[in-house]
Amino acid sequence: MKHKTFLSFMLPSAIAMLLFIALPIVSVFTQSLFIEHEKVLITVENCVPLGGCTMETVVDTEAAAKLKAERPLGQFNGFGTYTNRNHLAFDEVSAFWHSSDTLGEFARQLYGLPFYKALSFTLAYTFLVTPLVIILGFCIALAVNALPRMLKGLAIFFSLLPMMVTPLIGSLILFWMIDSRGVLGQTLQVLLNDPDLSLRASPALTWIMLMVYGVWHSAPFAFVVFYAGLQTVPQDTLESAMIDGASRWERVRYVVLPYLMPLVTFIALIQLMDNFRVFEPIVGFSAEASATSLSWIIYNDLRGEFQLFGSAAATSMLTILGVAVLLTPVLIRTWRDFKGARP
């Protein structure tokens, strides 16, 4: 395809992405290299209802406005924000490394730092949920595919439900159901014969709960894609495999699976990315005490009275970097395919 034709086809999509994603990314990256100006603090008298008057510290807005007009971006800090305690914490990590005697102690101390605490849950979530979603989605697709035509539509609808109900409300209702007095919580207590069981109280159970929710919520996506793929598995190959005496399992293992491999890659790609940015279930399940994620850290920086844009920007860039690292194997594979596909 000629460059010019390519450009004209690509243009609408490219403009949308450049304007609303690329530009923000550039600005976010720039922002992450700066910290705010030194604030001039002055002490003044404050009077409030019931409380009376007290001396309080406020920011000298005139001085702040003047500094901001001179250098709108703030003070240049290089990668200082990336390496400070609330992010990669280089100083603290090396201090822990030298002070701890065992690897376990080092890991425990590392877990006390917000970034590493979030990273550990994020990685555990990503690497457990992604394969489980793929396996579950594949099995559902096989099962639905075996249904009589009449029932397929209904089964597809019900299978899609977990993905369709908005996560915000879905997790609120599920959160109530898994409460120690809710229907699922009580059922679990009876099943496990432990009347004090509470999924919300212990960190380990909270992690499991979030992951089960993650698999439940994303399995429909894998199901839809696999189901599509199953429709195109060439019947003659299956048939000849059967004539050769291949068992059912062997047919799935040696014919269907290899044929669907590109789809596995595709789902893995999307799921790795989405799971690495896990966020909504943490808020929906009020799980902040036991599990935080990188996206949650960003949210925590941006919400509330005082918004730390620089800090959120740095965490966002680290998230992108993390995704890039995770996807490297997939990228290399795509590159090879790409090169191979060229005439």
Binding site: M10, A16, M17, A22, V28, A143, S159, P262, M273, L302
Partner: protein, 294 residues
């Protein structure tokens, strides 16, 4: 005949598969069914601290309203809080997002599938990096410029943002569908004297629908379910369903308002049910075209 033979299964396997599917369907549908049932109860039943079985029998509902079922949640959501407006806004947003996403995406995806220069690969990679950006950061970045340009709060702004955020996924997915359509098809048309665009218009468009429908399904779900963007970028009167439902909850949940949210969630899922049943055949056939050859 041959299809039947190749996919025939023994009764044990069939039983096992059906058992597994039944389990999954229960897991998938139970929370929703529970919500559907509970949406006709009062809050102290559906969220009963005393006994979860109250949600089944409606113990408090009988005490508070005199009957085991109440439509108070629906009445509150639809009549008192005007949920219909939010439904209408959602309709506009989803229709526009799906239409624009697919238009941009088919053009881009087609170009990416037919070009073999190195930059194609890098565009695809960049799109992936774009997709990795957490939405919360993007949205907070939009706020100030949008307010300054005075375009904050409008449906059109939100639609464009959702389209842009969704583009990386759309072009990736559509590209893989176009890879499945043989190159000879459009190239022979060009040999016959068509321009590239004419080839696309007359040869590719007629055969691309299955892939477009599947991609459209995902675009639709994104626009329908999005909270991060819609909650922050829409003004009160332009709210779509999801932020509207969230606003029923608020930071201080008032007695009763929570049930508005529950009723609204059920209401919001109903059109999806109709949609899936209606488009079932198209979805299935769309899916069958499959992005298999990646």
């Amino acid at each position: 005949m041959s299809e039947a033979r190749a996919t025939r299964r023994s009764p044990t396997v069939r039983l096992f598969l059906m058992g597994f599917l039944a389990l999954w369907l229960i897991a998938a549908a139970f929370p929703f069914m529970w919500t559907l049932w509970g949406s006709f109860k009062v809050q102290s039943d559906f969220f009963s601290i005393q006994d979860w079985r109250n949600a089944l029998w409606g113990t408090r509902t009988v005490i508070e309203t005199g009957a085991p079922f109440t439509g108070a949640g629906y009445e509150g959501a639809w009549i008192q809080e005007g949920f219909g407006g939010a439904v209408f806004n959602t309709l506009i947003v989803t229709v526009c997002v799906v239409a624009i996403s697919l238009t941009f995406g088919t053009l881009g995806g087609y170009a990416l599938s037919r070009s073999s220069y190195n930059y194609t690969f890098w565009i695809l990679m960049t799109a992936l990096v774009f997709r990795a950006m957490p939405h919360i950061t993007l949205v907070s970045g939009y706020l100030l410029p949008f307010f300054e340009l005075n375009i904050w709060g409008y449906l059109s702004t939100t639609i464009i943002v959702l389209v842009a955020i969704n583009q990386p996924f759309t072009i990736w997915m559509l590209r893989s569908f176009f890879m499945n359509i043989p190159k000879d098809l459009d190239e022979s048309a060009m040999v016959d004297g068509c321009t590239r665009f004419q080839a696309f218009r007359y040869v590719i468009i007629p055969v691309m629908w299955p892939g477009v429908i599947t991609t459209g399904l995902f675009s639709f779900l994104l626009a329908y379910n999005d909270f991060a963007v819609t909650a922050m970028l829409l003004s009160k009167e332009n709210q779509t369903m999801v932020p509207k439902i969230a606003s029923f909850l608020g930071s201080t949940q008032q007695e009763g308002n929570v049930m508005f949210a529950v009723a609204a969630v059920v209401s919001a899922t109903a059109p999806l049910f109709v949609l899936v049943l209606f488009f079932q055949r198209q979805i299935v056939s769309g899916l069958t075209a499959g992005a298999v050859k990646g």
